[in-house]
């Protein structure tokens, strides 16, 4: 079962893309040409409701949270903590104590590596990652490996762009942690989260999941997925920059030592020591991203308004159209990296086109207002596995439709004629 996605029953109401586009100021007529934004996997655009929520917060309510008696401070605190509740419910958290705000998902994995890692891993202990991880879920472990001498293992990637599970049990044997992405930001692959989590738990390992590309695009239920730790990032899900989220099982977080030290994460400080605060504040040092939390809660409101099942169905439709129409139009000149079945992938499409370098593709596409990313997508080990230096990547969201795919195709034609070799 592909990671608990509801794909069997098509949503009763489809997504109204024209209405969705109208929600996003960046698609305004102000620009000199139509914006075909196909880089949501790097960062999504922001709807007016999110910008308004943050502006209104600053214009009517701002004060530092948690310590003030006066009305503004009390209201700011209520909004910040209310945002925690909204975001927690959105991913199926049962308690606000399990929902920690970070600055991005990268900080969340550093938190896991520092706090859980340093208190649970000894030299020689193994952590199992995958070859398709984003650097955010690689570098913190590489740093810990260097410092502590832990062993890093990797699940490989098949030629179809899926995780190679043939040696899963062998690699889990003796591993203390399995940390992997729910969806590849390069290949679009939806990994079998529950299956992996069950196998890891059976082997006695803790399960950390990178939900950065998953939460924005489908219904998420951390308990159903079987995760112990689950992280994602605000700016890829209609929210602002400057905020990420780490969810963790309460007992696990309870047992973890603090990561960053400072105000708000303490109960008492003396010149010779300190007592940490309780969850979730134990992990939130310093003034938190208050307006960003308010903005992210508004983003969740927008996502729920569209409906996560409708978003998933919509992206499947657009992705399916992209794969079939581009292959029909360009034949073997167009190659998709990663799974072709829309049941097993999300709306992130890395491709090769003729022998044209991704940088050149992206540059020529830009001329038609088509924004795709070119590069290693912070997944250099995966690039090596694919045997490429870079890929061009188009990704889809609520504001994209098949007309964007057609614009992409037309722009690829331009690139072909410019670079005819």
């Amino acid at each position: 079962m592909a990671a608990a996605l509801s794909t069997d029953s098509p949503p009763t109401v489809g997504l109204d893309v024209a209405a969705a586009r109208a929600d996003f100021p960046i698609f305004d007529a102000r620009h000199d040409r139509r914006l075909v934004f196909l880089d949501t996997a790097a960062s999504s655009q922001k709807p007016r409701a999110v910008l308004d929520a943050m502006t209104e917060y600053y214009e009517t309510t701002h004060a530092n949270v948690h310590r003030g008696v006066y009305d503004l401070a009390e209201r700011a605190t209520a909004m910040y903590e209310g945002a925690r509740g909204t975001i927690g419910r959105f991913i199926g958290a049962t308690s606000d104590r399990e929902v920690l705000f970070t600055k991005n998902v990268t900080e969340a994995f550093n938190l896991i590596a520092h706090s859980w890692g340093r208190s649970n891993l000894r030299a020689g202990d193994a952590v199992l990652l995958t070859e398709m991880e984003h650097h955010a879920n690689l570098v913190p472990w590489l740093m810990l490996a260097e410092e502590r001498g832990i062993e890093l293992r990797y699940l490989g990637v098949t030629d179809e762009g899926e995780l190679d599970l043939s040696d899963l049990d062998a690699k889990l044997d003796g591993a203390k942690l399995l940390s992997f992405t729910a969806m590849s930001n390069v290949l679009g692959t939806l990994n079998p989260v529950r299956q992996l989590a069950d196998a890891a738990h059976a082997a006695g390992a803790v399960v950390a999941v990178d939900g950065a590309q998953y939460v924005p695009h489908t219904t998420t239920d951390v308990a159903a997925l079987g995760a112990d730790l689950f992280a994602f990032t605000g700016h890829k899900m209609l929210g602002p920059t400057g905020i990420g989220v780490l969810w963790g099982r309460e007992e696990l977080l309870e047992a973890m030592p603090p990561f960053l030290g400072g105000g708000d994460m303490i109960r008492d400080v003396r010149l010779d020591g300190f007592t940490p605060n309780e969850l979730p504040w134990k992990f939130e040092a310093g003034t938190p991203p208050i307006a960003e939390a308010v903005g992210l809660a508004a983003a969740v409101g927008e996502l729920e308004r569209y409906g996560m099942d409708a978003i998933r169905a919509h992206e499947q439709r657009v992705t399916g159209y992209a794969i079939s129409s581009l292959q029909e139009r360009f034949g073997d000149d167009f190659t998709v990296h990663g799974p072709r079945s829309i049941e097993r992938r999300g709306g992130v499409l890395s491709f090769a086109f003729k022998a044209i370098h991704p940088h050149d593709i992206s540059q020529v596409l830009n001329e038609s207002g088509v924004c795709v990313r070119a590069g290693h997508h912070c997944a250099k080990p995966l690039m090596r596995r694919l045997g490429v230096g870079a890929t061009a990547r188009a990704s889809f969201y609520v504001y994209n439709d098949t007309d964007d795919v057609d614009a992409l195709a037309d722009a690829l034609d331009d690139a072909a004629s410019m670079f005819a070799l």
């Binding site: 949270v65 948690h66 310590r67 003030g68 008696v69 009305d71 401070a73 009390e74 605190t77 209520a78 903590e81 606000d96 104590r97 708000d264 303490i266 109960r267 008492d268 605060n277 309780e278 969850l279 504040w281």
Partner: protein, 161 residues
Amino acid sequence: MPGLEDLYREIILDHYRNPRNRGELDIPPAHRTEGFNPLCGDEIVVYVSVDDDDRVAEIKIGGQGCSISQSSASMMSAAVKGKTLDEARALTRAFKALMSIHETKLGGDGSGTDAPTPDPEVKLGDLEALQGVVKFPVRIKCATLSWNTLTQALDEVATAS
């Protein structure tokens, strides 16, 4: 928007200005427990002695803090004095239920996040004057500080005997 009169009821100010059972008890035979609210720096010291009938024979309050924490402690001391341990605990549950709204939402102080189920039989009397505090969420921790300290004290007494 709730007004100050909801918070600073006359009876609260009276207990603040004229705190009941203020002082210390010799330990032993009495038991001494300290509680503090790290957010505002309030401290409460509860001295309590329990007699052979499991009654709160004596109770004294020390420490310093804001009007809400001090008056709540004063009222508490008056309310539990002479009560059995079970009655004192039932009263605590009833009081915490009165306060429980939002208590976990405000930057924790470790005073417990369990929402106790009160016994409808228990009468809070004067303590109901503190009900206005729930309209000022930041102050709830002030009102519950002495009760959490009492709970800890009674638990310690029970374990010790």
